[in-house]
Symmetry: C2
Subunit: 356 residues, 2 copies
């Protein structure tokens, strides 16, 4: 059966990437060894790592004032690593409270310094992106989540603040063109648009480092990783390689402009269908809808399980909402073919006719 | 050309493991999706994770007072995570100083509490394992590295101490039978005998947790990971899967007893050859020689590069010593065939005849 992968992450990857990754596990670049068996300080792997780091900068159009790291631990590790490296105990950082992941980042930041909530959408169950922000002038940075994977909202503008911007881009990195040089720090778990689970991309403007007084454990200190060129200790070799293959694919397909065009095309198709069917309702404000993760419900709550069963029969996985909020969600990352969205829309239309 | 993989880690893996891992990247268990594309909270992955966690306990013959976690960040992350979770600021932990990795662990522990050096082999360049230990009665734990990958020494006995034992077993885990229930905490990067780079196995006796006063960031708190059954956030899915395949292979081949027999056989062959050839010299005390990593030098220092070139011509990789100590080193992990050691010994004998 053909499968349609709407997983929220780990998620769909390009078929070419899977093919190359599979082959490299038997024989990497015809060297007679598996990618899993080569030393991380060999020229073989250093070439992989350096090409990946360089491609991140190229796709983001960043200059040498930035460094790219491939770390471990996911965005959750960054929730604590960011304030540990950037925020002293008596200092304040501003945070946008727009969803479950942002809330988790806030919780960890409070362990290291003062947190000022710049805006919150909690009053409406995080179904919108606030337009008004309050950012203290003395804030060390403003942190926000560019795309809320669980709730299905996305910032379609860049928050205005006269302090360094820090963004968790885990679920929309490399899906659109952005003025990335406006950010002081960007991080993203790779398992959506940048590869497979097991590595986290961290992009740092170097001049924001070295300003806190606390002693930072070696492995958590960004400066140590920068000095070691992202080879402080054994990196997640295979995850970095899959990320490289994914970045090469993005570039070959036309870069971020083309990824954005495809994302818009998929989202237009999906949301247009959603809005014309009585059987389904979108969960968030239309202007803040995510191009990556669409959240919705069945008009009749009793129909939700039935719809999920029908999706399953059609080989559609990942349609269930996040366990914390329920409902339905489909994720439409870079490598999801438009035909998958079309197939889903057909199922939804059919469901609407029979149960609407 | 046939390759002989003496890498110190990431290192040689069983051919069956590579084959299955490669296939799972195209289609995992015939579900029509790649192992890289499935959600980490699906039954598919939870079965993988639970089987892996359970196999670790089975191979180590541990009961339910222990929990097994698959974390990220390597042993280097554990160097700080262990004292952060087990050692209060005014408390003391005892550490054995027997090599580069142990020294790094000591450096991080000092950020969290008092460190008492239980023994050190620094006086002889870490070429032996001390027999005398000094462990304060009030020490929270005794930490040691069971096998020193860089220096080529291994503890062939268990240090005696009336305090909880914590061990970094990164380079000899699952290579021999041991009374694992004597340990309060064991950790190991997977990239030698337990899988590929990208995940760290942590085995914890639960009753040692919850005794420190500091606030621990969510992702670094062992208790949170235990409560979440090692699914606190997105785990390194593929690395856990490769570890599962490796553990299954160990079990199928005969378990730790058989791994130990093979390790002894390989080491006997190598060290016997080494000791009979004038052209080479072992670097460490014979009784403390590692069965995993053999360190040696050419009798004539000028011959080292020549010998490395000859190894390269024969498809032998990973024969160079660690950059911090130089010399030569061959690593002989679980899945290294005896025939690889034989081939190396033949090259050494030939070198000895021509240059000895």
């Amino acid at each position: 059966m053909k499968m349609y992968n709407f997983n929220s992450g780990p998620a769909v990857l390009p078929a070419e990437v899977l093919q190359q990754a599979s082959e490299a596990i038997i024989d990497f670049n015809n060297i007679g060894l598996s990618i899993l068996e080569i030393g991380h300080r060999t020229e073989w792997f250093i070439n992989v790592l350096e090409e990946a780091r360089s491609l991140v900068k190229e796709l983001m159009q960043l200059d040498d004032s930035y460094e790219v790291l491939y770390l471990q631990g996911g965005a959750t590790m960054q929730f604590m690593q960011v304030p540990m490296n950037l925020l002293d105990e008596n200092e304040t950082a501003a945070y946008c409270d727009n969803g479950i992941w942002g809330s988790k980042a806030i919780k960890e930041a409070k362990l290291f310094g003062q947190v000022h909530i710049a805006c919150s959408s909690k009053d409406q169950g995080h179904t919108y992106i606030p337009r008004e922000l309050s950012v203290p002038q003395h804030a060390r940075y403003l942190h926000y989540t560019t795309n809320n994977t669980v709730e299905g909202t996305q910032w379609h503008f860049i928050p205005e603040a006269n302090v360094p911007l820090v963004a968790d881009m885990s679920s929309d990195i490399f899906s659109r063109e952005m003025p990335f040089s406006k950010y002081a720090l960007i991080y993203a778990g790779a398992q959506k648009n940048a590869g497979a689970a097991g590595t986290t991309i961290v992009v740092i403007k170097k001049d924001i480092l070295g300003k806190v007084n606390r002693t930072i454990p070696s492995i958590l200190n960004y400066s140590n990783h920068i000095e070691a060129k992202s080879l402080l200790n054994t990196p997640p070799v295979f995850a970095v390689y899959v990320s490289l293959l994914t970045l090469r694919w993005i570039k070959q397909e036309g870069g971020l402009a083309e990824m954005e065009r495809r994302a818009q095309e998929r989202a237009d198709l999906f949301y247009h269908t959603l809005d014309t069917l009585d059987a389904f309702t979108g969960k968030v404000d239309k202007r803040d809808r995510s191009l990556m993760n669409a959240t919705f419900t069945t008009q009749n709550p009793g129909h939700e399980k039935l719809f999920l069963d029908i999706c399953k029969e059609h080989g559609m996985v990942g349609v269930k909402g996040h366990r914390s909020v329920g409902g339905l969600r489909v994720s439409m990352y870079n490598s999801l073919p438009l035909s998958s969205v079309q197939a889903l829309c057909d199922v939804m239309k059919d469901f609407n006719e029979k149960r609407g």
